[in-house]
Symmetry: C2
Subunit: 426 residues, 2 copies
C-alpha cells in the first residue's frame, strides 16, 4: 500500500517536473528561436552582399580589427564562447553574460560579410546559452536548474539553426562529456529544441534540403548475402577517413590558435594577419569557394555543400582547403561556428572518396557531412539522428557505421576544449 | 613533439582496440546470429502447429510442469535469465551458464507451441549472453572484457531477432542503467549487432515489415505554423498513455510473480494454474488473438500487431487483454521475451487512441509499438532509432516525442529488475 502510494507520488513528481520545465523552456525556446531566425536572415543577406560586392573580401583584415576591438572593450568573458557555456554547465562559476548574444551575432555576421570561412552553430549555441543564463537569473534558478536551462539553450540554438529538433536535443546531452549520454535534461532539452525550431520556421526561415537518392540493392552476386558488403566495407574505410579529418581539423584549429597567440605579440595583428592569409589563399587558389558558409555557391561550377552531393561537385582537395580556411578564420580571431565548415569538409571529402572508391556520390557526401562532425565533436548518436533528420531514414545503418567509426578515429580531443572525457575510447 | 607522438599512439591504441574486438565479436555474432535464425524458424513452425492444432492449448498446464521441471533439475541459476546477464555485466559473479541457451530456446518454443503469450527478445538476449559468456571463458577474458562481450551478446541477440542492427547496439548500451547511455562498448556492440543480423538473414530469415503510409501535411489553417500542432498534441498525450501502459505491464508482471510465489506453496502448481487461467480467459473472451507471439493472425478478422496498423484492426481493450495474458504467462513460470507482447500492447493501444482522438491509425500504432517498449525498458533513444529502422525516418520527431514522453511516464521500475537507476527521472 505504501509502495503504491509512493508510486503514485512518483508519477505526480514526474508531472510536476514536466510542467515546471515546460513553463521554463517556453520563453527560452521562443527567444532563442526568434534570435536564430534573425541570425539566419542576416546571414543570408550578408552572404548575398558578399557575393555581389567581391571587394568586401579586401576589408577582411579591417573586419578582424573591429571584431578584436569589440571583444576587447565590450567582451568581458564572452570570448570563451561555447567553452564558457559548457564549463558553466559542468560547474557554475561566474555565469554566462547576456552580452554574448549581441556580440557573437554581430561579429559572426561581420566575419561572413567579409568572407571569413565559418559556420553557424557556434553563434546559435552561444545565443542560446546566454539567453538561457539571463532567464535563469530572472527566474532565480539554483545551480542545477541553471545548468539544465543552459543545456536547453544549447539544444534550442542547435535545433533551430539546422532545423533538426531531435538532433538538437541529443547534441546538447551528448556534447558535454565524451563517451556518455546523460538523460538529466532529456525532456527539457527536447522541448526547447522542438519549440525553438517551430519558432524559427514560423518566421518563414527555410533550411537547405539535401537529397540522397541512392537506393541500396543487394549488389552481391552471392545470393544468400542480402546486402552490399563491398559498399559496407567502403563505408567503414570512409568512416576512418572522416574521423581523421575531424581530428585534423580540431588539431589544426587549436595549433593555429596557440601559435598565433604565442608568436604574434600585438594581439590586434592576429586577425589582420589571418585576414591577409585568407585573401592570399583565395588568390593563390583562384577560387572563392572556401569563403563564408559554403552551403550553396553563386557560381554553378563552384564547390559547395550542395554541389558535393553530385558527381563532379567537389575537387580532390576541397576538404583540405576548407579545413585550412576555417582553421585560420576561427583560430585567428574571427567568429562563427565550426559545424557548417565541418559539413563542407565532410561532404567534399565524401565526394572525393566516392570517386576514388567507386561508391555512390550522394551517399558518401551525406555520410561525410554527418561523420566528420561526429568525429570532431564526439557526438556519434546525435549525428546518426541528424542523418535521419536531414537525409531520411533509409540508410541509417550506414549513418551509424560512419559516425561510430569516425568517433573512434577522431582521437580524444575535439573542437570543444571544455568537453570532458567521461570514458576513454579504447 | 611528445604530444604528437602520444597522439600517434592514441590512434594506434584505437586501431589495436578495434582489431581485437573485431576478432572477438565475429564468433559471438556468428553463433548468436545462427541460433537466432534457428530460434525464429522453430518459432514459426511452433506457431503454425498451434494454429493447425487448436487442442494444443489444453496442454498448456502440462507444458508448464515440463518447463518447471526442466529449470528445477537442469537450470542451476539460468532461471534468472536477462537479469542474470545484466547483473554479470554490472558486477561479474558466478558467470552466465551456457546451458541457458538450450534451456531458454527449448522452453520458449514450448511456451509458444502450447499458446502462452510471450515474446522473442528475452530468449535471443539470453542466448546471446550465455554464448558470449562461454566464448569469454574460452578466450580467458578478464572481468571488464567479459562484461563488454556480454553486452555484445545482448546486442547480437536483439539486433538479429528484430532485424534492427542499430537499435540492437544502442539497446545493449542503454538498457543497463536508467538515465544514461554509456559508450564503453559502442563499437563492439555495434559490430556484434550488425554481424549477427547479417548472419541471421543469410539463413533466409525474413522479418515482418510494418508500414506507416501516413504523410504529414501542415493541416493547420494558420499559415505561418508549418506543422500540424493538433497532431503533435495528440502524440504527446498518447505518449503519456504509452508510458503508463508500460508501467502497468511491469507492475502487473512483478505483482503476479510475487503473489503466485507467496501464495502457491507447491511450486509446480504455479505454471499449471497459470496455464488454466490462460485457457479460461481464452474461452471467456472467445478469441485466441492474445495467445502466442501475436505478430500476425491466421484469422483475417483477428487482432495482431500487423492488423493494428489498419483501422478496425484492434478492439478497444486489446491492449489490456494482452497485458493480462502476458503478465500471467511470464509471471507464472512460462518462458519467452516481453518485447513482442509490448509491441502488441503498444500497437493496439495506439490503434484505440487513434480512433478515439481522430489521428492516423498507422502512425499511432507505430508510435505505440516503440513507445510502450521504450517506457517498460527505459530505452527511449534505442526505441526512437527502432522506429526509424522499422518504419522509416519520416516521422522521427513523433517517434522521439512518443518515446521520450513514455520514458518519463513509465516510472522508475521497468521489466528488468536488474536495471540500475543511474539518474532519477525528475
Amino acid at each position: 500500500m505504501i509502495k503504491k502510494l509512493n508510486n503514485r507520488f512518483e508519477h505526480l513528481n514526474i508531472v510536476n517536473h514536466l510542467l515546471r520545465w515546460t513553463i521554463l523552456t517556453i520563453p527560452v525556446s521562443f527567444i532563442v528561436g526568434s534570435l536564430v531566425a534573425l541570425f539566419l536572415w542576416l546571414l543570408e543577406k550578408a552572404t548575398e552582399l558578399r557575393w555581389q560586392h567581391s571587394w568586401l573580401l579586401y576589408l577582411l583584415p579591417v573586419a578582424g580589427i573591429l571584431i578584436y576591438a569589440v571583444y576587447k572593450y565590450l567582451g568581458k568573458n564572452a570570448e570563451a564562447g561555447n567553452n564558457l557555456i559548457m564549463e558553466e554547465i559542468h560547474e557554475p562559476g561566474g555565469g554566462v553574460p547576456s552580452r554574448m548574444t549581441p556580440l557573437v551575432l554581430g561579429t559572426t555576421i561581420i566575419t561572413h560579410l567579409f568572407g571569413g570561412s565559418a559556420g553557424r552553430e557556434g553563434t546559435a549555441v552561444q545565443m542560446g546559452g546566454s539567453m538561457a543564463a539571463l532567464l535563469g537569473r530572472w527566474f532565480k534558478l539554483n545551480h542545477p536548474d541553471t545548468s539544465i536551462l543552459l543545456m536547453c539553450g544549447i539544444a534550442a540554438g542547435f535545433g533551430a539553426v539546422f532545423g533538426t529538433p531531435v538532433t538538437g536535443a541529443l547534441f546538447a546531452l551528448e556534447v558535454l562529456t565524451i563517451g556518455r549520454l546523460n538523460y538529466k535534461a532529456l525532456l527539457p532539452c527536447f522541448m526547447a529544441s522542438v519549440l525553438a525550431d517551430f519558432t524559427c520556421s514560423a518566421y518563414g526561415i527555410h533550411h537547405t534540403a539535401y537529397h540522397i537518392t541512392f537506393k541500396a540493392v543487394a549488389a552481391s552476386n552471392i545470393s544468400f548475402l542480402h546486402f552490399d558488403y563491398l559498399l559496407l566495407a567502403k563505408v567503414i574505410l570512409a568512416g576512418v577517413f572522416f574521423g581523421l579529418a575531424g581530428y585534423c581539423f580540431s588539431e589544426l584549429s587549436h595549433t593555429i590558435k596557440n601559435y598565433s597567440n604565442r608568436f604574434i605579440k600585438i594581439k590586434w595583428l592576429i586577425p589582420v594577419i589571418g585576414g591577409f592569409i585568407i585573401i592570399g589563399l583565395t588568390f593563390a587558389l583562384g577560387t572563392r569557394d572556401y569563403l563564408g558558409l559554403g552551403v550553396t555557391n553563386p557560381d554553378p561550377h563552384g564547390v559547395s555543400i550542395v554541389s558535393a552531393f553530385t558527381p563532379g561537385g567537389a575537387a580532390y582537395f576541397s576538404w583540405f582547403w576548407k579545413i585550412l580556411f576555417t582553421a585560420i578564420t576561427l583560430g585567428m580571431g574571427f567568429k562563427g561556428g565550426e559545424v557548417t565548415p565541418l559539413f563542407f569538409i565532410g561532404a567534399t571529402l565524401g565526394n572525393t572518396i566516392a570517386v576514388l572508391m567507386g561508391a555512390p556520390v550522394d551517399l558518401m557526401a551525406g555520410l561525410g557531412f554527418i561523420a566528420v562532425f561526429a568525429g570532431a565533436t564526439n557526438t556519434p548518436v546525435a549525428c546518426t539522428i541528424m542523418g535521419v533528420e536531414l537525409f531520411g531514414g533509409d540508410h541509417i545503418l550506414y549513418y551509424a557505421i560512419a559516425c561510430f567509426t569516425a568517433y573512434y578515429f577522431s582521437g580524444h580531443t575535439g573542437i570543444y576544449l571544455s568537453q570532458r572525457l567521461g570514458l576513454s575510447k579504447t
